[in-house]
């Protein structure tokens, strides 16, 4: 993979974090291709090949619905995330697709000021690099713990 492709992949991952942490969720679905897959699962379920996702989306439309539900329907206290993403491992999958893996920490801060190390885990990504900017074909969020404090509103 050339250096330019690597930089575009890094930019996609950086943009993802920026959008989620800055509460610009309306832009979040556009980081994905139309027939995408986004799933939040635990390391145990991932290891056991269990297909369920705490969030399970198989289209960009389902991602949009997730955002509009958070904005219009669901009730939860104001909160924000701070993602810390580690180095990215990238490898070619095919001519136009790369696979990427990175580790993350998410700290959740509530409107009350309470902070929690909310999640740690890894992103397993399949990325379409045929376009610029490139987009996620698949993002599997694998959390190390299978426990979630209170609720998972904002996507990881």
């Amino acid at each position: 993979m050339d250096e330019a492709t690597r930089r575009r992949v890094e930019a996609l991952l950086a943009r993802y974090v920026d959008i989620v942490d800055q509460d610009r969720l309306e832009e979040w679905p556009d980081l994905f291709v139309e027939n995408c897959r986004y799933r939040v699962t635990s390391a145990l379920d991932y290891r056991d090949n269990l297909p369920h996702g705490v969030i399970y989306a198989v289209s960009k439309g389902m991602l949009r619905d997730r955002v509009s539900a958070l904005r219009e329907a669901n009730v939860y206290e104001a909160q924000r995330y701070r993602h810390i993403v580690g180095p990215i491992w990238i490898e070619d999958d095919s001519e136009f697709v790369v696979r990427a893996r990175s580790n993350f920490l998410v700290i959740r801060t509530m409107h009350t000021g309470e902070m929690l190390l909310f999640a740690s885990g890894a992103y397993f990504d399949k990325i379409d690099v045929s376009t610029d900017p490139c987009r996620f074909i698949e993002r599997i969020v694998v959390t190390d713990s299978d426990k979630i404090d209170t609720l998972l509103a904002i996507p990881l």
């Binding site: 297909p51 369920h52 389902m62 619905d65 669901n74």
Partner: protein
């Protein structure tokens, strides 16, 4: 085993009526200790795990009753056994993993080993080393088995009880609850995934919430926001005689054409609030009875969920007076094809910690817990739908919540 009553309750209930609940029941640590003794270790049946999770002889899993870790095992002859996950020697944890497989379980501390029925089968250095030390002659292995529970399996669900003489299981459920469990759990199950939600509230606040049919359309606005028309549904709530078990349900009105229904369900009139991908709600009437939702509880901590094709069991575990855990096991059937599994996975977006119609239940108990702190002398009100705990053919009622308190007060002697 002597029954401990764990002292007398110091909580003042306003009356014998079920319509008023003192907030102190959510914060009092003495009362919490009494609950562990009288409810979780009392004459109740506690959900432990699914039979499919210990499918083969030699399989075992670690579960809990109350805060007590419990091993559930399938012994080599195929029988199901449950015992406290605690070595009979010095009380150390026995199984250190969540699940395992083998013909015996050995404590890492001093090497005492047990078969999967909970009987002590080996003691390291029982006869000493080089004729020195060892257990005295009066030591009998059969006096030191693991603390065993009574177990029962029903429809692929395994329950345990600490009571020496637990109530007859079918009477404990009641005929209507029993048949409504059997309605959903009617063939071999398949686990699709698991997740545990840590809730910042007393366990009872969650159990009340899940029995509460009054709040559903008010707190959970997903269906109304997206104008998913559900007016052609009717429903009701069933409460068992003891009060502790319930089933709430909605059912399609057969007088409306089912094609109309399907179109209404996935369309809304306003473009702004329309699902971009309504395939999430696509599914089939797999039980053939038009029941689109059935939420069922078995006292003190099991929820069996059918929301359209999304099936799950939820195990509620107390974790101190102001904390509890909700262990979700998301299910399908062993004979589901790929399309059916995909329906279930998509619809599972409705439930769980990130569920469109259930995420609020994760925080609302905490709202009560935070609001009663320091001002526990007041009482909550439960008057919706009258004062009793009977079955009703409508859902604007708190009948099943009152049923919970009926069962609770009987067991707690308050």
């Amino acid at each position: 085993m002597a029954h401990l009553d764990a002292g007398t309750s110091k909580i003042a209930w306003p009356s014998n009526a079920l319509t008023s609940v003192p907030y102190r029941v959510y914060t009092d640590t003495d009362e919490y200790a009494r609950e562990i003794e009288r409810i979780f270790k009392g004459p109740t049946w506690n959900y432990l795990c699914l039979a499919v999770e210990i499918a083969e002889p030699g399989d075992y899993v670690v579960s809990s009753i109350g805060e007590t870790p419990v091993v559930v095992a399938r012994s080599l002859d195929g029988g199901i056994h449950a015992f406290v996950n605690r070595c009979a020697h010095r009380g150390a944890l026995l199984c250190l993993n969540r699940r395992g497989h083998g013909k015996d379980i050995t404590c890492v501390y001093h090497g005492w080993s047990y078969d999967l029925t909970g009987n002590l089968t080996g003691v390291a250095f029982q006869r000493g080393v080089q004729r020195q030390g060892g257990m005295p002659p009066e030591f009998k292995r059969e006096d030191h088995n693991l603390r065993k529970l009574k177990v029962v399996e029903f429809c692929g669900l395994i329950f345990g009880s600490f009571a020496d003489n637990p109530p007859d299981f079918q009477s404990y459920l009641g005929p209507e609850i029993s048949s409504r469990i059997a309605r959903v759990m009617h063939k071999p199950l398949k686990v699709l995934g698991r997740t545990t939600q840590v809730l910042p509230n007393n366990w009872k606040l969650y159990f009340e919430n899940v029995k509460d049919t009054y709040h559903a359309s008010i707190l959970h606005t997903f269906f109304t926001t997206f104008e998913i028309n559900r007016l052609n549904q009717r429903g009701g709530v069933v409460v068992d005689e003891g009060g502790g078990n319930h089933a709430s349900y909605t059912i399609m009105d057969r007088s409306l054409d089912s094609t109309d229904y399907k179109q209404q369900e996935i369309r809304s009139s306003k473009d702004d609030y329309r699902l971009a991908d309504p395939s999430m709600l696509e599914g089939v009437d797999e039980f053939g009875d038009g029941v689109t939702l059935q939420i069922l509880t078995v006292f003190p901590g099991l929820v069996v969920q059918q929301i359209q094709n999304s099936l799950a069991v939820r195990q509620l575990l107390p974790r101190g007076v102001d904390r509890c855990e909700l262990v979700w096991t998301i299910l399908g059937f062993a004979d589901d094809d790929d399309a059916m599994t995909e329906h279930r996975l998509k619809q599972a977006n409705l439930v769980g910690p990130a569920g469109y119609i259930s995420m609020e239940d994760g925080c609302v108990g905490g709202f009560v817990q935070r609001a009663v702190r320091g001002i526990e002398e007041d009482n909550g009100v439960l008057m919706m739908g009258g004062g009793d705990a009977s079955s009703q053919t409508y859902r604007a009622t708190e009948s099943s919540v009152r049923g919970f308190w009926k069962k609770y007060r009987a067991l707690m002697g308050v």
